[in-house]
């Protein structure tokens, strides 16, 4: 196994209450890699992400984090390594941005620890990189969807994780904020972070992903670079619609998806 592998899944089967949703899942994510999960609604992307975040147990198979089985980590050890942001998170409690982001230090501070210089630094770096420094005293209940998403990512970053798991981080955002979040992720992975995110927008995946996994029909149908996965035959089969794939006008290497009317 390559030394820079952060997380690997081997013959993983995931689901709820013993019922498998996805099976025979094997892939790995390296340092500085942005893996995007694409695929139809209900295919199991959320379940897979939750399993990788150890929120639910895999039905079978193994997940290795830094070459160690995920279940051998204590909950705090794991929370220091993995940051997770759920889909469509909304917060109705009027915390300030600073308070919410500082909660990302919980795994290091515990129930009683006071804010150490390391905590403060981590919080400020997280605010800085997400462009939220001037928002510190704002209430999270008064933010737009895009701003809140950045706050939640900032909280995950304050954990100082090696791996970020984001479930549809750009759904409900307008195009500008979608691009904003993706640019942020690209910046983070270029600094060595690994990220696994689920996306519906295939073109965003094409623009920003290092690798893509197409999740459909109870497993990972294809895993590879954007060019290997975002192919018309594969996508038509998975989504059951007609579409075309052409080169991006400025970066011909990147496939762009053109939808078609179906009749």
């Amino acid at each position: 196994m390559a030394p820079d592998v952060r997380l690997s899944a081997d013959n993983l089967s995931v689901g709820y209450h013993g019922r498998s949703i996805l099976s025979r899942i094997s892939f790995s994510v390296s340092k500085g890699e942005l893996l995007t999960l694409v695929g139809p609604n209900g295919a199991g992307k959320t379940t897979l992400l939750k399993t990788l975040a150890a929120l639910i147990k895999p039905l079978s198979g193994t997940i290795l984090l830094d070459s160690k089985p995920l279940e051998t980590f204590s909950s705090y050890e794991r929370a220091v390594k993995i940051g997770y942001v759920a889909q469509g998170s909304s917060i109705h409690w009027p915390f300030t941005v600073y308070e919410l982001v500082s909660q990302g230090r919980f795994p290091s501070r515990g129930w009683f620890g006071s804010e150490s210089p390391a905590d403060k630094l981590a919080i400020e770096e997280a605010l800085e990189i997400t462009d939220l420094y001037s928002y510190r005293e704002r209430l999270v209940t008064e933010l737009s969807g895009g701003e809140l998403q950045r706050v939640l990512i900032a909280r995950a970053l304050a954990q100082k994780p090696e791996l970020l798991l984001l479930d549809e981080p750009v759904s409900h955002l307008d195009i500008r904020y979608q691009i904003g979040v993706m640019e942020l992720l690209q910046k983070l992975v270029s600094q060595g972070l690994s990220a696994i995110i689920s996306l519906h927008d295939l073109n965003l995946a094409s623009l920003y992903a290092s690798t893509v996994s197409l999740v459909a029909q109870g497993g990972i149908v294809t895993h590879g670079t954007v060019k290997e996965v975002l192919r018309p035959d594969i996508l038509q089969e998975a989504y059951n619609i007609n579409l075309e794939v052409g080169p991006h006008p400025e970066s011909p290497d990147l496939p762009m998806i053109y939808y078609q009317r179906q009749r």
């Binding site: 939750k50 975040a53 009027p94 915390f95 919980f106 501070r109 009683f112």
Partner: protein, 339 residues
């Protein structure tokens, strides 16, 4: 909110509470002037048990005022804890059925004449167990409707449990009618029977309960945003829930044991304080305790002066304020409750 502003809010609350307490000592069926209070304070150092005003102040009013504050603070801390536990700002010991659970537990202990366990009276212990059972029942029942439990499910579960416990309580009273008087005396006791003994037995339990909720402050800030958020930040959600439910149930049970069932305090005080100091539990809990103390103190002063010498049950006053407040809260925030 800057730390200094928070501390000044706490300071202002303490001052208001102090002067209200002072007023509470002077007001009542027999009005004792402030000057007289000062004179009696002097007697404190040369005890003269024959002095009527000394007796009224020290044996009756002072413990009553202190107990009112303790009960209010406990109910408010319990409410704050339950709101975090249920992730719902409508949760309150009364609303979710913890108060009636405590009452049922206490009644059982009385009619079965259960023996005390060490220094803990069986009545207090059974009240605590009753509150805890009610809390977990309300939680499990409302959880069927979704995660987090929607407000409606929580209210329905709480109402159903309250009705069920009250029915069991009535049943017990009908069957064991020779104990009826004692149980009623205990349940409707209000603050009229306040004494130093009552205060000394109740306050340590209340402090313990409040402390359990308080030490969970930081993880509670995270738990209110959802179980997944809590798990992903490394929190042992089960242990946290159990700790918070135990603390809140202890505080609620001790309050019920001292003053009977008083509704809505755990709803009004935390909500008002959340608006002022924010949802951060480290700050919210002390402020909510002071707010609850003030609320019950004022309600008790009103209850014993408005129709003096007749004394109204204090629950009437808090419910008259609380029920409309509850309805407004439900209308205004109903759509967002439960997340």
């Amino acid at each position: 909110m800057p730390r200094r502003r928070y501390l000044s809010i706490i300071f202002i609350l303490l001052i208001i509470l102090f002067f209200t307490a002072l007023f509470g000592v002077t007001a009542g069926a027999v009005t004792i002037s402030f000057k007289e209070v000062v004179r009696v304070l002097g007697i404190l150092f040369y005890p003269d048990q024959e002095d009527t005003n000394f007796t009224i102040l020290f044996a009756l009013r002072l413990p009553r005022v202190l107990l009112a504050m303790a009960v209010g603070a406990s109910l408010s801390v319990a409410g704050t804890g339950f709101q975090g536990f249920f992730r719902n700002p409508l949760a309150d010991p009364y609303v979710i059925g913890a108060s009636s659970g405590a009452a049922l537990g206490a009644a059982l202990a009385i009619v079965l004449s259960l023996p005390a366990i060490g220094p803990v009276s069986s009545v207090s212990l059974c009240a605590f167990v009753g509150a805890l059972v009610a809390t977990f029942l309300a939680f499990s029942l409302s959880r069927f409707a979704g995660d987090p439990p929607p407000a409606v499910a929580l209210l329905l579960a709480g109402t159903a449990l309250s009705a069920f416990f009250s029915a069991l309580l009535s049943l017990i009273l009908v069957i064991k009618d020779k104990d009826m008087h004692r149980v009623y005396y205990w349940l409707l006791g209000g603050l009229g029977m306040s004494s130093w003994t009552e205060l000394i037995t109740a306050v340590p339990i209340m402090v313990l309960g409040a402390a359990l909720v308080y030490i969970a402050s930081r993880p509670l800030d995270i738990l209110i945003q959802g179980d997944d958020v809590a798990y992903s930040l490394g929190i042992d959600v089960r242990r946290l829930r159990f700790l918070v439910a135990s603390g809140a149930s202890l505080a609620a049970a001790a309050a019920v044991a001292s003053a009977g069932i008083i509704g809505f305090v755990g709803l009004i005080a935390p909500h008002a304080m959340r608006i002022i100091v924010g949802p951060n539990h480290r700050r919210l809990l002390p402020a909510a305790a002071l707010g609850g103390a003030l609320l019950v103190l004022v309600a008790d002063i009103v209850a014993r002066t408005i129709a003096a010498p007749l004394e109204l049950p204090i629950g009437i006053i808090t419910s008259i304020i609380g029920a409309p407040f509850f309805i407004v809260l439900l209308f205004k925030r109903g759509r967002h409750l439960g997340t």
